[in-house]
């Protein structure tokens, strides 16, 4: 393989570049990025960056020394428009083409938006530019903020806005936020964090539309209410960036379909991060984006699946001064046992808690709130189980 092109210059794209060099690829390395920025870390955008405690230079994922060592051609500020898998060419929006032997798809996901025109004061929070714009708006003085969507981005953003002194309301269409991630019982516990910090949480109600002519003035709810708003943050999930691959021979369905080694049906194309549907599931988690590239690059360089991603899903979220950490996979019907700390009527107890999700007598997932040490121990135990399952029963 003489040329490898990584499409996507974010977390998983950078990790793929590192892996290519670490695994001995010494050919031409091209990295295409839609944003004009070198790779940066997104998790702080909704937290410390928004609240002003982290600056842009602290978001950088790489430095001059490392980029020099990677010896890559960075094509930034340009979007990929197509992938000609037969001709092995990546076509860029500005008409340029990159002839390549191998491709790592790392185009991530884009924030879902509300239908309709764009009003000033309405934001999504996915990219550095999104966060810059929102931070500037929030800096104009105390405002009425409505956050649409109570998922992780919504909750973190609401928390940051409340911390900056804004009046915040979160609107969640489901009866409770975070149920798919945490299950109903634990989602209810975490939802209490909003109330505790004076943020109003309106659930079970959708958004009918936004009010305003040039600038947003309010949010119409499907139950007939209107919430006044100077700033609206739309946190209703993200869609994998696959539209540029339509017309290629790759199978697309809520992401690029891959086997459990991040390999697509084409031996010279692998996918990583938010855009990759690996072994039947797609994760929009930092940890997946950093763990998949090692396996993907091994398989890309081998031209077939030698390794599989075998990790325990893990994500974390910081909301209202509490750190929520979750590892494993839960399903409806799992029983939840509290093993550390306590849960009160008002949400997590003073010192947080650790909860185990059990199915058939086995721990399948673990949730920690402000219990990093106990959580770490439990997460390592889960990982150990998975590794043991990976060992063939008969050697």
């Amino acid at each position: 393989m003489r040329t490898v092109t990584i499409v996507g210059a974010s977390l998983s794209g950078l990790y793929a570049a590192r892996e290519l060099r670490a695994q001995g690829f010494d050919g031409r390395l091209v990295i295409v990025g839609e944003e004009p920025h070198l790779p940066y870390d997104r998790p702080p955008l909704s937290k410390n960056f928004l609240s002003g405690r982290t600056d842009e230079d602290q978001l950088a994922l790489t430095d001059a020394d490392e980029t020099a060592g990677l010896d890559a051609e960075w094509l930034l500020g340009v979007r990929a428009r197509g992938l000609d898998t037969r001709g092995r060419t990546v076509v860029l929006d500005d008409g340029r083409t990159v002839s390549t032997d191998g491709v790592v798809l790392a185009t991530g996901a884009a924030a879902r938006r509300l239908p309709g025109g764009s009003l000033a004061g309405v934001h999504t929070l996915r990219t550095l530019d999104d966060a810059r714009a929102l931070r500037a708006d929030l800096g104009l003085g105390a405002r009425q903020v409505v956050v649409i969507g109570g998922g992780f981005i919504g909750a973190e953003t609401a928390s940051s806005c409340a911390g900056l002194g804004h009046a915040v309301t979160v609107v969640e269409a489901a009866p409770l936020p975070l149920v798919p991630q945490l299950g109903a019982d634990m989602a209810a516990v975490c939802a209490a964090l909003h109330r505790r910090r004076g943020v109003e949480l309106i659930t079970g109600t959708g958004v009918a539309g936004l009010r305003g002519t040039a600038t947003v003035t309010g949010v119409d709810l499907t139950d007939g209410r209107t919430l006044p708003a100077d700033i609206v943050i739309v946190g209703i999930g993200a869609t994998p960036n696959t539209s540029w691959l339509v017309g290629s021979t790759l199978a697309l369905h809520d992401g690029v379909l891959c086997d459990d080694g991040c390999a697509t049906a084409l031996p010279q194309v692998v996918a990583v991060g938010d855009v990759a549907r690996v072994g039947g599931s797609r994760a929009e988690h930092w940890t997946s984006a950093t763990e998949q590239p090692r396996v993907a690059v091994t398989n890309l360089l081998a031209g077939r699946t030698l390794q599989r991603v075998r990790t325990v899903p893990y994500f974390w979220s910081d909301q209202y001064g509490s750190r929520i950490q979750f590892a494993g996979r839960h399903r409806d019907g799992d029983t939840v046992h509290l093993t550390e700390g306590e849960i009160t009527d008002d949400g997590p107890g003073e010192s947080g808690f650790l909860a185990h999700y059990e199915r058939g007598g086995r721990t399948v997932a673990v949730l920690g709130v402000d219990q990093p040490r106990a959580f770490l121990r439990a997460r390592r135990e889960l990982q150990r189980q998975v590794r043991e399952q990976a060992v063939p029963a008969v050697l």
Binding site: Y15, D41, P43, W286, T287, T290, R323, P372, R373, L376
Partner: protein, 107 residues
């Protein structure tokens, strides 16, 4: 020189956070060695005193960055910058940390 706790109050394999500015983490390894480093992971806001101690390495509880307690150097990503190390002594059975002067480097 800052007193931390009595030696017997920090069992082997455990760590304690000292609320200095910035906070410092003091570790007592399984071998009984004492080390002190800055408590905050250089990658993202997390307390290394709550991390996973194995030999002379501590793994950050948030993103599994790992630091060598002897040098403060990260041994794996995502951390790329070292944490400061501090000298530790035991006097009259009490652990003391001698804070390394703040360096003039950019944060």
């Amino acid at each position: 020189m800052i007193p931390v706790c009595r030696l017997e109050d920090l069992p082997e394999g455990e760590s304690v956070r000292v609320e200095t500015t910035p906070p410092v983490a003091v570790f007592r390894t399984e071998d009984g060695e004492l080390y002190a480093i800055d408590d905050t992971c250089t990658h993202q806001d997390a307390s290394l005193s709550e991390g996973w101690l194995e030999g002379c390495l501590v793994e950050c509880p948030l993103h599994a960055a790992s630091f060598d307690l002897r040098t403060g150097e990260p041994t794996c990503l995502p951390a790329r910058r070292p944490v400061r190390t501090h000298r530790v002594t035991v006097e009259d059975g009490v652990i003391h940390v001698h804070l390394t002067a703040e360096e003039g480097t950019a944060a």
